[in-house]
């Protein structure tokens, strides 16, 4: 649906986006991650035709954004970082204006009503935009992007300014839109990207540093070679038993959590699952295991790990 090829954008000497290439399949929700100033907004601005790239091409459903801008723009609904709202207009008038500007060929009133219903702004339709709260403004901006049911939605930090309840509603909405639309969304909130997106792209300093399915991304970043356990029994006896388990390389004592219950972090050889071994060894000696969990890097930690190009101290 969207094909970005060798995209480069220079501002004078500064390279904002550096040779970025990726594709988004039809109906896919793509998460765009990166620290501030990584080039997320710049990339989105290029995809939507707001600014031009220095080099490279962006093709949206067969239309190149620079060669055939009007066709390409017709297929995109864009919610920029700051929603493009005219503060002196009412919500209704603003959406009517955007409807006309985008030359949407749908029944005007019903279509606008439907979208207002969808993003829950029906109750503020006749209020001036300048009097709305940030959450409402964000949703009016989102409504504007949905006008005309464009096959592609580009959303730059769509949940910023919303309260927790609205954030959950918005995520649910985006996820449901993902069935009909192709969505690119950027976000700082990594749990959000994990909850919504099928695939994650990480960029740093304008360069692509990761591009994989959400689950694969997390698996890649997981540290399954580390198991945390809480076991009841005298520490020295338990330690002796644990040491005999195949694959265990190191055991770190974490202290007494409950009376006679100690916590240990067990490191193992790479790609060896020691959990069964631990269970069997403890069962044989009648040391009850009260808790066992593998440690995974959270997406946040994974993110820092990739963008810094180094491991994270646990």
């Amino acid at each position: 649906m969207i094909e970005v090829k060798n995209l480069t954008k220079c501002y004078g000497d500064k390279i904002a986006v550096n040779d970025l290439s990726f594709t988004v399949e039809s109906g896919e929700i793509l998460g765009f991650l990166g620290p501030n100033g990584a080039g997320k907004s710049t990339t989105m601005n290029i995809i939507t035709g707001y600014i031009s790239s220095t080099r490279g091409t962006v093709t949206v459903d067969g239309s190149e954004i620079l060669e055939n801008p009007l066709e390409a723009k017709k297929k995109i609904g864009y919610l920029p970082e700051i929603p493009p709202l005219y503060s002196e207009m009412t919500v209704q008038k603003y959406l009517e204006f955007m409807f006309d500007l985008k030359r949407v060929r749908l029944p005007k009133k019903e279509h606008i009503d439907k979208i207002c219903e969808m993003v829950r702004i029906s109750d503020v339709k006749h209020r001036l935009i300048k009097n709305l709260s940030k959450g409402y403004k964000q949703r009016v901006g989102f409504a504007q992007a949905l006008l005309g049911d464009p096959p592609v939605l580009v959303l730059d930090e769509p949940t910023v300014g919303l309260d927790p309840k609205q954030i959950i509603e918005m995520r649910y909405l985006i996820k449901s839109l993902g069935r009909k639309h192709t969505v690119i969304l950027s976000s700082h909130v990594l749990s959000e990207v994990r909850a919504i997106c099928d695939r994650i792209i990480v960029i740093n300093n304008g360069k692509l540093v990761a591009n994989s399915k959400t689950e694969a991304f997390q698996k890649e970043m997981s540290t399954a070679d580390m198991v945390t356990v809480q076991i009841e029994g005298t520490q020295s006896n338990v330690l002796d038993a644990l040491q005999d388990v195949r694959g265990v390389t190191k055991i770190v004592k974490k202290g007494e959590k409950f009376p006679n219950v100690y916590e240990y972090v067990i490191h193992s050889e790479k790609d060896t699952d020691v959990r069964k071994g631990i269970f069997n060894a403890m069962a044989k000696k009648s040391f009850p295991i009260l808790l066992m969990k593998t440690e995974e890097l959270s997406l946040e930690e994974a993110f820092i790990r990739i963008t810094n190009g180094e491991g994270v101290q646990k």
């Binding site: 601005n45 035709g49 707001y50 493009p84 709202l85 204006f97 955007m98 006309d100 500007l101």
Partner: protein, 234 residues
Amino acid sequence: MLAIIKRELASYFKTNIGFVVLAIFDLFAGLFFYAVCLNGNTGNLTYVFSDMFIILLFVIPILTMRLFSEEKRQKTDQALLTSPISLSRIVFGKFISAVTVLALCMTVFIMFAIVVSVIAGAQWAVILCNMLGFLLLGSALISIGLFISSLTESQVIAAIGSLAAGLIIYLMQAITTILPISSLANLLNKISFSSHYENFTLGILSLADVVFFVTVTFTFLFFTVRLLERKRWK
């Protein structure tokens, strides 16, 4: 393009800028009409129109200052530029809306003409020529103001810039008389708005003058489109 014209016109009157411009324009037009025609006992509107040039210089910047600078400051240009509409239509739509407000201001001239025709019998051809000239002059100034508005994010700078540009244009003829180089003076005289506008106020309709103002208008509209286009590439 119709959507843009409709929005801009609504915005002029929502923000009261349209009413302020109408009020200022008609106040001074009325004052000049009273002083020249009613007090001076003449049906000749020539001086009313030539005096209104200076009022136009102050009114046009108010009309054009926010056209692009406000879009950029509020980031609403992102909505315009990512919509399936060409830049030239955006620019032309904004231009037409400002010209429409100016035309609304000018309806007061029709009232003057009716008053004159009752009292002294009006020369309608001359008055129409005057109004055409005024509208062409206004359009040229609007397109210059529009261009200056696309240069900056600040409305104030856009307004002051347009005012300064207007004053230079207004004074150009006077400047030519003190220039030591005659060829340069000649050239400046040829592109002086005043000398071209003067003919209209005298009731002389010449194709050269019409072409001059239309050319200036479209040149600056073209510059505006090119400038906005160039900004996207920067």
